[in-house]
Amino acid sequence: MSLEVTLITGRTVSQGEAMERGKDLDDYTKAAAVCELDPADMEKIGINEGDTIKVSTGIGEVIVRAVKSRQYPHEGIVFIPMGPWVNSITDMPADSTGMPPFKGIPVKIEQAKGEKVLSSHDLIEKLYLRGNEKGEGVR
């Protein structure tokens, strides 16, 4: 079962706080490798708080943890804090402003039981140092 929704990204106070404490710490993963969903959307595909989910766009996919949004209602919209997780699925700018589309991205959300949420360090290592899925272009 999957859910087609609109993704927006941005700052949260926990992400800001964790980032200042150190992006190599668990706190950063806990604060930014999460996807805030409207409770109604969670029910639609049977996702519970803390479940690992796969969020995908045309760019790629990323595993994060589902969190029940405290800032709802926003049915049809999900939120992932800014960070390397969400940016592994965001696209480049295309409108002559230099601004990548960080809000309003069509995404697919699926359950990903048993999948692991990578730390920032491991995610970057996997995506950019050991080769991307196509195995090209990066060191």
Binding site: G16, Y72, P73, I77, G83, D91, T97, S120
Partner: protein, 453 residues
């Protein structure tokens, strides 16, 4: 400087170097060059100060050799930076928002010397606002003005309870002002957002706009405020009745301020949304007094815009490749330079594009030699060729920063940086000197070769 009760010394009037609110009322308790306590700061601000004690900070520069970092001395690191940058045909010098204006001066000089592209994090936050401001102007005000006068506060596509936690309490909603003696009771708060955010929960009125239709809602409000009939029953998910009420409230306030954030700049329409927001405020000034303020994110992102503008004439995305400054968002902006795979080297300072740029841009950064200057081992450093640890501006170095309303403030030095750690300014000056020496040597070589012919 006061003696703090019980222990240490207390440094007062400390400016918080995190967000564009630039709170200047912090009190920091210091003992043995360690920060023991921070008063008045929000969660993020205190975290920045208190993390200093726990952070494992690298204290020596590093160069990548055979895939992993090796510690080197400063001279070797500067030499490597000079080598990378001098060889590059189109270096990208990016970041600048979390350091003082003194570092900006040197950075711009370096960009000019190299014929590179210099861009700031504005590119991925309020760049579109700057573009709109250039088109239609900016009827703005200082935060002091807002605090003393405003009886109507609107946050549109901004969630300060998360991104600027003390903004409401210091400047907009809660404080008592000269003409607003009862503080919050004398003001009304309206929040326009796609989610019922933590800021919206505090509002007297929450307007839930459909994603991507802010421009439509702003235009509908302009229509009504300019005395035209609104024909639609609903715009952007907001009923006609609510739009009429909202317009009336805006027109009849004594002094209103519209604060806007990434909800407008990063959503569909980008600079056109801001254009509409500014035009709305301009229209409102035919009826009452109204101002607009961009919720600038990083503490000195406004500063790099100011310094770039007075030195080059352009606010961000400045390209020196022709020997004179050029500015063309969509072409000279960091993500576009990376998207077209033009940059062949990068110097990243006071920012973290590997965490905050889209994947394709990061892939290109991973391919080219990258230099990172900053206090922490951040994701960008992880992909760099050279990493030079620097002191923290606003905590370990005094510097100048511009608040979101373009008021410059002096940041204080609270503690000494760790032994052997240089400031951003010192590091950039050393790199600039190295690059210049290389150019002189190159010119001499060419001259000699010419004479030999």
């Amino acid at each position: 400087m006061k003696k703090a009760k019980g222990y240490g010394r207390m440094v007062t009037d400390v400016v918080c170097p995190f967000c564009g609110t630039l709170c200047d009322d912090l009190e920091v308790v210091v003992e043995d060059n360690k920060i023991k306590n921070v008063r008045h700061a929000c969660r993020i601000g205190s975290s920045k100060f208190l993390a200093m004690n726990e952070l494992k900070r690298p204290n020596r520069p590093m160069i990548r050799k055979d895939g992993s970092f090796e510690e080197v001395d400063m001279a070797a690191a500067i030499e490597e930076c000079g080598r990378i940058l001098s060889r590059s045909k189109r270096p990208l010098l990016y970041g600048w928002s979390s350091t003082g204006c003194e570092a900006h001066f040197v950075g711009i000089e370096l960009a000019e010397e190299l014929g590179g592209v210099i861009d700031s994090t504005s590119s991925v936050c309020h760049g579109p606002s700057v573009i709109a401001i250039q088109d239609v102007g900016y009827p703005s005000a200082t935060l002091g003005d807002v605090k003393n006068r405003a009886d109507l506060i609107i946050y549109w596509g901004a969630n300060p309870m998360h991104a600027h936690p003390r903004h409401l309490s210091r400047y907009s909603v809660f404080p008592r002002g000269y003409f607003r003696e009862r503080g919050q009771q004398d003001r009304e708060l309206i929040v326009v957002d796609v989610r019922k955010t933590d800021t919206a929960k505090l509002a007297n009125r929450f307007v839930q706009v459909r994603y991507g239709e802010d421009f439509e809602l702003l235009s509908a409000l302009r229509l009504v405020i300019n005395g035209k009939e609104l024909e639609a029953d609903e715009v952007a998910g907001v009923s006609k009745e609510d739009i009429l009420e909202l317009a009336d409230r805006m027109k009849t306030c004594q002094y209103g301020t519209l604060f806007f954030g990434m909800g407008l700049t990063q959503s569909y329409g980008t600079h056109r949304n801001i254009d509409a927001g500014i035009s709305l405020v301009r229209d409102l000034n035919h009826h009452t007094k109204f101002s607009i303020v961009a919720m600038r994110g990083h503490y000195n992102v406004t500063g790099i815009g100011e310094v770039l503008t007075w030195q080059t004439g352009y606010p961000f995305a400045v390209d020196f490749s022709r020997g004179y400054p050029r500015y063309n968002p969509g072409e000279t902006t960091a993500n576009d330079v990376l998207q077209r795979e033009e940059a062949d080297a990068a110097l990243i300072i006071a920012s973290d594009p590997v965490a905050h740029f889209p994947k394709k841009a990061v892939e290109h950064l991973a391919r080219i030699p990258m230099i990172t200057i900053g206090p922490h081992m951040i994701p960008t450093a992880q992909l760099s060729e050279v990493f030079i640890p620097s002191s923290i501006s606003g905590i370990e170095e005094a510097s100048t920063a511009y608040r979101m309303d373009t008021v410059p403030l002096k940041l204080r030095k609270v503690i000494e940086p760790p032994e052997g750690i240089y400031s951003d300014v010192e590091i950039l000056e050393m790199i600039l000197e190295n690059v210049r020496e290389r150019r002189v040597r190159q010119m001499e070589r060419e001259k000699k070769a010419g004479e030999g012919r």
